[in-house]
């Protein structure tokens, strides 16, 4: 497990070398808000650990090992930024600062859930690409892991992860009833003969046809 400071350095180098090239010591110092001298010292340490390669007068690049760690942390950072900006409504700059602190505490499980909840965002609020996760499947396959409403058993509770509908009017109707991402839905009754499902959402009972319910993608409570 890399230390927080290591992660921070690797992430910055990742950011600076994303479009190719090497990271200049001065740029790293600027991005981290520390003196170039301490950057040089840290780079030497990282190079010794085999995380980066440093060529004098050229700059620093990530080794495959360092890149893996850096990618993971950059992914967490950008997902968190997206979350803070979209779901919490924090300004982009403040969001960035907080994401810098939160990224180190975020577990792999939480990261996966966050990605699912936000329906696999591709970029952070600054427009940078969010690195893909290491799961051996595409985002579509990962999405389809989310259940449809009609897949959920009677008596179970699940959370709306996202909605899939081509029909905007239908979508708005469903949203207006409170089926918004993050809403918790309890299945009270599944009526027979392909009848509607009776669900409880925010203390309100709603009969919803299975076909409409399947617009909702759910993550079941564990």
């Amino acid at each position: 497990m890399a230390s927080e400071i290591t992660e921070q350095y690797l992430k910055i180098i990742y950011n600076l070398t994303e479009d190719g090239g090497a990271a200049k010591t001065n740029d790293i110092a600027h991005a981290l808000g520390v003196a170039p001298a301490s950057v040089t010292q840290m780079i030497h340490k990282l190079a010794k650990q085999g995380q980066v390669t440093h060529e004098p007068y050229h700059g620093t690049t990530l080794s495959p090992k360092g890149r893996r760690i850096a990618k993971k942390i950059a992914r967490k950072h950008r997902l968190l930024e997206r979350f803070l900006s979209d779901m919490v409504g924090i300004e982009t700059e403040a969001g960035h600062e907080q994401a810098c602190k939160m990224e180190h505490a975020l577990s792999a499980e939480a990261e996966e859930a966050l990605c699912k909840m936000m329906n696999h965002p591709s970029t952070c609020p600054h427009g940078k690409r969010i690195p893909k996760c290491e799961r051996a499947m595409t985002c579509e396959e990962c999405s389809s892991e989310a259940l449809k409403l009609s897949d959920i058993k009677e008596g179970r509770t699940a959370t709306v992860s996202h909605l899939v509908s081509k029909n905007k009017e239908e979508l708005c109707r469903i949203l207006a009833m409170g089926f918004v991402p993050g809403a918790r839905v309890t299945i009270e009754k599944r009526l027979p003969m392909g009848g509607p499902m009776i669900v409880n959402i925010k203390d309100t009972r709603i009969a919803i046809a299975r076909t409409i319910g399947d617009v909702l993608r759910m993550v079941e409570d564990t």
Partner: protein
């Protein structure tokens, strides 16, 4: 001074409305929709305040007919104040609609209705805190017990600064909103540009039309970009932020002071659990049906008996010495009034009272949910059950009841099924009075079976032919509750009035024409020319054509007519059992009576009415001819 009542469905809005306005309420069907709304006047001291009750909606985005009617009314009436009726025990949901009203710049007073239920559920609402957060007034009410109604009205007529409360959306949405706001001109809009921008994004047709292509296409491009980037539509984000904000405020102002009492919902639950719900439903349907057929029949007899006793003499006196034409007119008037007494009070009034109770208790939506699956299999959906049951009493309210169906197509299909394949109580009387009495019960049951089969086949054929998907169900199921007498009376009154204004003039005119024809002996002239058809195709005595034509006016009169024509009350002397079977079958399918025709025109237009009538006549003749062929002379 004008006030509008807004609110989610099932929050007690119409109870508040009926308490505010009392009598003099009118209902209107919004042009081009099946959505009804009500208007009335409230009095406060000397002041008269117009009150309009908007259809219950969850949102103002204009994505359903109800929402469109509500936004149109708000837009065109510009009410001075909007009273938002909220269910205090489920505040969060109502707050979302409130946010939209505030965003659009309306001056809003919140009625925290069902406050007693919230207390019972162990909730305490910090009303002051709510007012402070929303920068508007809130008044606890218990509408069914008249509590807080005056206070809401007092609050509504007070001038107050507009609330500055706005929901903040996520930063990307805010960016898009402000870009759109910059493209709009404040002078062209009666409400804040922020609301205009949000409503364009949410797909409000009216606003989009007014905003013009330049703004909407920019909005669509931005929304598309948003969706690409976030993998989620901007509408979902906007609504999610509203619900999020509502949840936050509700958490802050609502506190649980005691554990919730065990919900008194056992009956409520039993009605939607299939194992118990279906038997309950059958019992309720049977009760409705029996009340209409037997209760209605008893009231009809009593009323018509009393009317004949009271009015017959007077009309006979008037008729004395007058020309046949005048006598015909008088007879027509006499019979129309009788028909009204025979249909309106026993069947329609009784039905409307029951319907209103079933609606207001919240039972109807349970029936709809329960049967939705089964009904989909035969091309209809759950809501079709009610009009069909009603149709066994009288077709007129049944056709009116089709309004509960989602789309016009479904309404038409259902109306066709009802007018053609569901025998009304008068048609049942003919079947029982002829076939049942003289040919045996099994033959009468056979007719009902034929009609049932016709219903199923016709339903499937129409379902295929009209190529429609029954609209998908999504509706709130409220807890069962006690309806108020006042609301029941009010609703029934409005509906009866509506029925009378369509049916009575037509019935009057039709009766007069028919009576004149009879008086002039013109109807009898039909007998000879129709003989080849009546006897040749249907195998019936030619004179029965008079009863068929007469049946258009009043089906139950056809039986009496038949006896008059044959000059005997023992029909077995005049017709064979087979002839009776054919006659009853034809009468049961044959064209709807005049009152039903009038409602068909009112609800669906002349074209659909002609189509339905022609279909029913053709089917009646076809069935009669086939029955005649099979049974032989």
């Amino acid at each position: 001074m004008e006030i509008a009542l807004a609110g989610n469905p099932n929050v007690g809005k119409s109870v508040i409305f009926s308490k505010l306005t009392g009598i003099g309420v009118i209902s209107a069907n919004y042009p081009g929709t099946t959505v009804e709304f009500y208007e009335g006047e409230a009095k406060l001291g000397e002041m008269i305040i117009d009150v309009v009750d908007l259809p219950g909606t969850y949102s103002l985005s204009g994505n359903t007919d109800e929402e469109r009617v509500a936004t149109d009314l708000l837009f065109s009436r510009r009410p001075d104040t909007v009273i938002l009726v909220a269910d205090a025990s489920r505040l969060e949901r109502s707050l979302v609609l409130l946010f939209e009203l505030l965003e659009s710049g309306y001056s809003v007073v919140v009625a925290l209705n069902m406050y007693d239920l919230a207390k019972k559920a162990g909730l305490e609402i910090d009303v002051r805190g709510l007012e402070e957060r929303l920068m508007t007034s809130a008044v606890p009410t218990v509408a069914i017990r008249d509590e807080g109604i005056d206070a809401v009205l007092q609050e509504a007529i007070r001038l107050r600064p507009k609330s500055g409360f706005r929901v903040r959306y996520d930063s990307h949405t805010e960016e898009i909103v402000s870009e759109l706001v910059d493209m709009l001109d404040e002078r062209e809009w009666p409400f804040p540009l922020r609301a205009v921008a949000v409503r364009i994004l949410m797909g409000d047709r009216m606003i989009r039309k007014q905003a013009g292509d330049r703004v909407t296409s920019r909005a669509d491009a931005l929304a598309e970009k948003f969706e690409k980037q976030h993998h989620e539509s901007i509408q979902a984000h906007i609504q999610r932020d509203r619900f999020g904000e509502a949840g936050r405020i509700a958490d802050e102002v609502v506190s649980r002071i005691s554990p919730a009492e065990k919900r008194r919902s056992s009956l409520s639950d039993l009605t939607i659990r299939p194992a118990t719900g279906i038997p309950i439903l059958l019992a309720v349907l049977a009760a409705v049906f029996l009340t209409l057929v037997f209760g209605g029949g008893l009231i009809e007899q009593a009323l018509v008996g009393a009317y004949e006793e009271l009015a017959r003499g007077a009309f006979d006196n008037l008729k004395e010495g007058e020309s046949p034409v005048v006598q015909g007119v008088l007879d027509g008037v006499y019979l129309s009034i009788e028909a009204m007494l025979a249909i309106v009070v026993p069947y329609i009034l009784v039905f409307y009272i029951m319907l209103s109770i079933l609606e207001d208790t919240g039972y109807l939506v349970r029936v709809v949910s329960l049967l939705d699956g089964i009904m989909h299999r035969i091309g209809l959906h759950g809501r079709a059950v009610i009009p069909m049951v009603v149709g066994y009493g009288c077709n007129v309210p049944a056709i009116l009841a089709t309004r509960a169906m989602g789309s016009k197509r479904e309404r038409v299909i259902l109306a066709v099924l009802i007018t053609i394949a569901v025998p009304c109580s008068a048609q049942t009387a003919i079947i029982i009075g002829t076939v049942g009495n003289y040919a045996g019960v099994e033959w009468a049951l056979l007719i009902f079976a034929v009609l049932m089969a016709l219903l199923a086949v016709l339903g499937l054929v129409l379902h295929r032919a009209m190529r429609f998907e029954p609209s998908q169900l999504m509706l709130e199921i409220p807890e069962l509750r006690r309806p108020t007498i006042r609301q029941t009376i009010g609703k029934t009154g409005i509906r009866i009035g509506e029925f009378l204004t369509i049916a009575f003039p037509l019935l009057l005119a039709g009766s007069i024409v028919l009576e004149i024809l009879m008086a002039e002996g013109l109807l009898q002239k039909l007998v000879d020319p129709s003989e080849p058809f009546m006897t040749g195709v249907l195998g019936l005595p030619a004179i029965t054509v008079v009863a068929l034509v007469f049946g258009i006016l009043r089906k139950e009169m056809a039986l009496q007519m038949l006896m008059v024509l044959f000059g005997t009350s023992n029909l077995a002397l005049a017709m064979t059992a087979h002839q009776m079977f054919v006659f009853a079958l034809v009468m049961a399918i044959f064209m709807p009576c005049l009152a039903a025709l009038a409602v068909l025109v009112k609800e669906f237009g002349v074209k659909s009415m002609v189509g339905i009538t022609a279909t029913s006549m053709l089917l009646a003749i076809a069935f009669g001819a086939v029955a005649n062929l099979i049974l032989g002379p």
